[in-house]
């Protein structure tokens, strides 16, 4: 008779019960990234149903000295929730309760596994609005949104996720619960501990519930697409729109000449709203509730813009369907890039005042040094955030594609560093950008991050390998 040694996976199952622990092939779906580009592995996946069970999971993993990778919808784009084979995933997917929705306080308390779309729907049912708006909103979970401090198209009006958070409940690496779930809209009692966990990507603790701000639902939305002579003109237009539209803009996206072509490659049936030969496009959304006539505001704004000769062409959506068609160009452009195969995706920011200059410099350098490559620059003008992507020439073969992507990234970062920009405007660091992040981390910042990590997670069990590698404590 053989004695089979108990594995760590067996031990977790014994300690936490079979209902809570997935092992073997069942772990595979939790170890793939959103793009399908990366595949990890996990020792086990833990799926607690409430905060007390999260505490149990943390204590069990700590007892076995296993790294814990917290995971929400796993839709992040920087491998923040990607485990390695010696780690356990702690999925919040079973914690989806809306604990409270206080319409009269414009707030809600939801568990971390709540899907963003569900939170938005619950708010809408009470005439309210949760502003975070992302492509992944049907799959991403609010705990992940908070852990990554997610951005999206509405940041210019409502801020990053950080600005939408009123409170947090966090399970700490020692298994204790930090209850910072106050739904108070104004609370200034000293150091604001919750801020540490927003954007920490699970490296300091596990967010189990979130108190969020809600706003009145913007029941009127006006959407327009404007063609412009240059990217610079989009920035000029943005500044003018902020002032003239009284900060009621909820989105201002710029798109390059290739936008329509890429969108049609992905969606051949797409009706083009205007000629596809203009040098730059801006997609503008103004929204509001109540007594302000949003359609009239958009009409008068554009009237002035055309009277002053700033725009080449323009279309205002006359219905929700038409508005959706304008956004379809933006979304189709993304899908079209994916269809062209592997490429450099980036998520950088520079001061708005230097955005056009920055994009021109990078595109010129890429074109000069990598003549077969195509630049696709688009993004959130108001935030100085550009997704400056580079599509390699795939005819040259896969090795060349890798080389072109690496060289394009080098060119981009060189210019970015000169402009004092950020390598991650909205996506976070995760594992994908760790090396580039650490390479740019000044010594005092690094020392402070190390000290905080040591103070909160001395056992280094929270999401090891994510964001930065602390020197052994």
């Amino acid at each position: 008779m053989h004695t089979i040694a108990e594995t760590d996976a067996d031990r977790l199952t014994r300690m936490l019960g079979a209902d809570m622990v997935l092992t073997g092939p069942d772990t595979a779906p939790y170890c793939r990234d959103w793009f399908g580009d990366a595949q990890g592995a996990a020792l086990a996946v833990l799926r607690p149903r409430d905060t007390a069970q999260v505490q149990d999971c943390v204590r069990a993993a700590a007892a076995l000295d296993l790294g814990i990778v917290p995971q929400g919808g796993n839709t992040g784009l920087v491998l923040g929730a990607m485990p390695d084979s010696g780690q356990v995933v702690l999925s919040l997917e079973r914690m989806t309760r809306i604990r409270a929705l206080d319409a009269d306080n414009f707030s809600a308390v939801v568990e971390a596994g709540t899907i963003l779309h569900d939170l938005k729907q619950a708010a809408a049912a009470r005439g309210l609005f949760f502003p975070l708006t992302l492509g992944a909103q049907g799959s991403c979970r609010i705990g992940g949104n908070v852990s990554t401090n997610a951005g999206g198209v509405n940041v210019l009006r409502y801020g990053m996720t950080r600005e939408l958070v009123l409170g947090l409940e966090v399970v700490l690496p020692d298994g204790r619960v930090l209850d910072l779930l106050s739904g108070l809209r104004k609370d200034n009692r000293g150091i604001d501990l919750k801020q540490l966990f927003i954007g920490a990507e699970g490296t300091l603790g596990i967010i189990t519930a979130v108190a969020v701000k809600l706003t009145p639902a913007p029941d009127r939305v006006a959407t327009a697409l404007v063609a412009l002579p240059r990217l610079e003109d989009a920035i000029t237009l943005y500044r003018r729109a902020r002032r003239e539209c009284c900060d009621l803009m909820s989105a201002f996206e710029f798109m390059p000449p290739l936008a329509f072509t890429l969108a049609r490659e992905a969606r051949p049936d797409l009706t083009l709203p205007m000629a596809d030969t203009h040098p730059a496009y801006a997609l503008i959304e103004i929204s509001g509730s109540g007594l302000v006539d949003i359609d009239d505001l958009m009409a008068r704004f554009l009237e002035g813009v055309f009277a002053d000769g700033l725009a080449l062409d323009g279309v205002v959506a006359q219905s929700q369907a038409q508005a959706a068609a304008l956004w379809a160009v933006r979304e189709g452009m993304n899908e079209g890039q994916a269809r062209r195969g592997r490429h450099l995706r980036s998520d950088v920011s520079v001061p708005l005042s230097r955005l056009a200059e920055f994009v021109a410099e990078v595109e010129a350098a890429v074109t000069a040094q990598l003549p077969g490559c195509t630049c696709v620059s688009y993004g959130h003008v108001g935030d100085g955030n550009v997704h400056l992507n580079v599509l390699p020439d795939h005819a040259l073969g896969p090795d060349s594609v890798d080389d072109q992507i690496a060289r394009a990234k080098g060119i981009l970062h060189q210019v970015l560093d000169r402009f004092g920009g950020s390598i991650s405007a909205e996506h976070g660091i995760g594992r994908l950008k760790k090396v580039d992040f650490e390479a740019r981390l000044p010594a005092p910042q690094r020392a402070l991050l190390e000290a905080i990590k040591q103070a909160i997670d001395p056992g280094r069990i929270m999401n090891p390998g994510c964001q930065f590698d602390p020197v052994a404590g």
Copy 2:
């Protein structure tokens, strides 16, 4: 011949130079609080002229093991910058440069000693607006505003100071400079270290410069005073105003029946805008720029309010002078309270949905248990923030006044704790609220605060005695 032993003050003068160090009677103005209620003492006052000199000061104080009390305008209301006789004040008052104002990026970088009013003026000169609006804005300094995460009347539209900060420069307790001065509007590189120093009241480091967000100047402002049957109606009106005015409200203050009486006691010449016998008043400001007709918006909003019978009376300012006269009631009410002698001042918050109930409960309990006392409750409705003040019966003599204030505070806190409220909605903790703060601090929060303090300021030299007393490390 006598040898006179060198004191720490002498040593500081020798190390830093006479230009930088005040000692003896010259330190007195830095040791008095804003109200004149409290008087401290300091071993010396250090007045650096730039960041490098702040580093020198920190290193000198650390070498002598002296606690450092960073000080801006010293207008905080909770004794956050009040030294004791063994400590040195580090005043930022000489660091007042506006290092950069990038109108095209809607941002500025200013030194910590810049007076808030000067920053607002510099922004205005470029057609921009720095939203922080406080009674003390002619004296308070931006570094102090950030260190205390100051609130003010515009929070409902623009957020607390935290939400106006793009970046910080901080001198750490070890003398190193943490340069987080990015003017990027969107930058999501992991844990956001600057958040730790916002609201820390100088207990973790010294803020030496701040990058701030600016917005388009709201060149149209509509101001109205509305009389209402009850405080509850003010809250109903606020909710309606948020929706109908499309989040363009910049202030919504409520005032009690006694407001006019108190204002007239302080400013006898004040013209009353309406009868002084209404049960509640709301002061409403809507503001914006560009194409939205703000006056028309206010007119249509109030038209609906009166048509629905929600208000008893209303006045809309027809000029800037009239608007100033409406605000004068609000300011005069504060001055009137001061004239009635020492009283309980509070700065609490509860969920907006329970604000009216909370105020009613406290006022009823105070009236029942302290029949000679008068409650004056006013504040920022939108934030659930009420300054629920209690004026004692001074006829009963000073000992009784102390007793009444202490008992009123006990009643207030008892109800507040039951409502899950905050003892400091906007003023911070400082030294004044330390005991009340520590008494309500759950063990995991306390442990985390201690760990962070130990990690960043192991020598305990930063503002000892402020916020909480860490267990000796």
